[in-house]
Symmetry: C2
Subunit: 155 residues, 2 copies
Amino acid sequence: MRMSKGVEWALHTLINLDVIGGGPMHSGRLAEAHGLSPSYLTKQLQQLAQAGLVSSVSGPHGGFRLARALEDITLLDVVEAIEGDVKAFHCTEIRCEGKIGALSPPPTRTCAVHAAMRRAEDAWRQALAAQTLAGIRADLNVTPAAARLVRKALD
Amino acid sequence: MRMSKGVEWALHTLINLDVIGGGPMHSGRLAEAHGLSPSYLTKQLQQLAQAGLVSSVSGPHGGFRLARALEDITLLDVVEAIEGDVKAFHCTEIRCEGKIGALSPPPTRTCAVHAAMRRAEDAWRQALAAQTLAGIRADLNVTPAAARLVRKALD
């Protein structure tokens, strides 16, 4: 049970875009920020664009830019953009199979096991939705001097 | 990001063991309950045994039996027994790599991105730990007559 590494990449890249002033910045330079594979990061950026978190700007000074302020991007937005959904438990309805399944007609209610696992994942989703990238950037405590160094390093 | 199907198998099997009176029951018959692969279910049962949730009884009438009451088994116990841990986000410390990583000495604090993702997973773990299999069995509403039918079907 493991999220793709693209979630970590996307989160840092969105915060880096904010630190450099929002972009646009070419995906190759965004990849150099953390020594990432440019082709794989471009795939993540395209998924973020599909989710409306970044937008693509064409031209020689183009690239990707933030489409929303970090205050308006939650961890859930990013995880869903990259992973599709936040869902680890997948019910395959084994309750309807085998000797026990044969005892009753197909059930009409959601399985209690499935419902309980879903309640737990709802708590996870709510905790992801309650945290914005602005809050994480604040925790990172990027000083104006450090932000200037980052902009220069990626220039 | 997906838990193994063994989690669903283990949850239903533990509840079935309770419905039939606690066991012991041979893993092959527990597998027949839901038309599961006996060899794969045996692997899950061995993991549940290692976690102290079931115990193995040898002999012709042996098999696996509940080692604890359902009141004392939480969803978290079962997920950890099968999955090892409840952890979807894995930090690979990309913040220390590339051009941005080169700007500062190795950090001493946990990355704010990692800490935020961990807070969300803590909420998931807490919600798993707050639900027992006894509660789920109650939601399944297995009547004494239905329990007799299950025992007979697996006999």
